[in-house]
Symmetry: C2
């Protein structure tokens, strides 16, 4: 119906807009790949727009055409990292079978493995400074909630006395506790574990956090 009302110029404009939109999506994808590679190579700190656009083979302005700013681009890289993390955690939880404690233990160990394998990308997820003064978009918050949901699911089978709000709080606390152990270890601080004791303490934490009903 619309098409019959368009003249030939309008039709070509439509084609043009579609082509431009495709090009913009293609540029976005290229910039995300370039930014990810830069973060993997040198970390998220000191990431420079000009390096990324140079790697992606576009003008500096191209970045600001495709994304609101460098922070917005970093959030998109983080979005891909969270997707990859969720895929890894989902696979681990499925492989762990039906016992909820074993599922939670598998989640913690898969989290440790992922963080170790993708150090720089994983640090970028939690580098508050590189995203200071940035509003985290809803789709990214939704990704974070979805990850906590992976923990809440087996936890629900154990913490039968908790309502949904308390269950969510417990899942967040369990995530944060595991995250704390993984972070201090990967940062290689004095107060940090490594090797076998690290995995052992992570398992102990998860088992104890999900066993004593006090």
């Amino acid at each position: 119906m619309f098409k019959t009302k368009m003249n030939i110029v309008q039709i070509f404009r439509g084609v043009d807009v579609a082509a431009r939109s495709d090009k913009r999506e293609e540029l976005k994808a290229r910039l995300i790949v370039a930014a990810r590679k830069r973060i993997e190579a040198q970390g998220v700190r000191g990431l420079r727009a000009r390096d990324i656009t140079s790697d992606a083979g576009c003008a500096l302005g191209g970045l600001y055409n495709a994304f609101a700013d460098l922070q917005d681009l970093i959030i998109h890289v983080n979005g891909e990292t969270l997707d990859a993390l969720e895929a890894r955690l989902s696979a681990a939880v499925s492989a762990a079978g039906t016992d909820p404690r074993e599922r939670l233990e598998a989640l913690a160990l898969a989290y440790l493995d992922f963080a170790g394998e993708h150090r720089a990308l994983w640090f970028a997820l939690f580098d508050a400074a590189s995203l200071a003064d940035t509003t985290i978009p809803d789709w990214h918050r939704e990704q974070q909630r979805s990850l906590v949901g992976l923990i809440a699911e087996p936890l629900r089978a154990i913490e039968t006395e908790l309502d949904e709000a308390h269950l969510a709080a417990r899942a967040q606390a369990l995530f944060a506790a595991v995250h704390g152990i993984v972070t201090l270890s990967l940062e290689e601080r004095t107060i940090g574990l490594s090797g076998d004791p690290l995995a052992h303490e992570l398992r102990t934490l998860v088992r104890r956090m999900t066993t004593a009903q006090l």
Copy 2:
């Protein structure tokens, strides 16, 4: 004995060295105060030597006379923060009485309070980036170990089956777990708790971590 061997010039030189050493200590103290205030006001990121020396009323070179570099000065500020934290935790653990679980709970809650009250100084303690490529001096590592020792002490009364190495690992894990919950909360992330649920989850974590003997 040495003095009898000194001539008058050497004696005056000695006085001079002592006076210079006093002055250097006084300058160090002033620079630490200036750096601490800057960190409290604007955080440890982007801290500039020229701002600190200007605040302390000395030439830029004064900083490099008193400290190896800006990182060395930051470590000295962190050292004072760790001293203050240790004093706070020691007071909390003493006030908690003799029950080891209550002592550990008091430590976790005092840690949360301290971090909340001294956010910027506390973040500076864990800002790996601001101290990248810096060797942490032994006295500072010793301070960190001393803090973990505060946790290990009551834990020893509970975890009677653990040898010293495993006890140290458990104390580190407990610290890191509490630290993770406190950090993600203070950074105000989606995956972070606040208010009553935060204190409740911290207590639950400590109680469970120190109860189930699995």
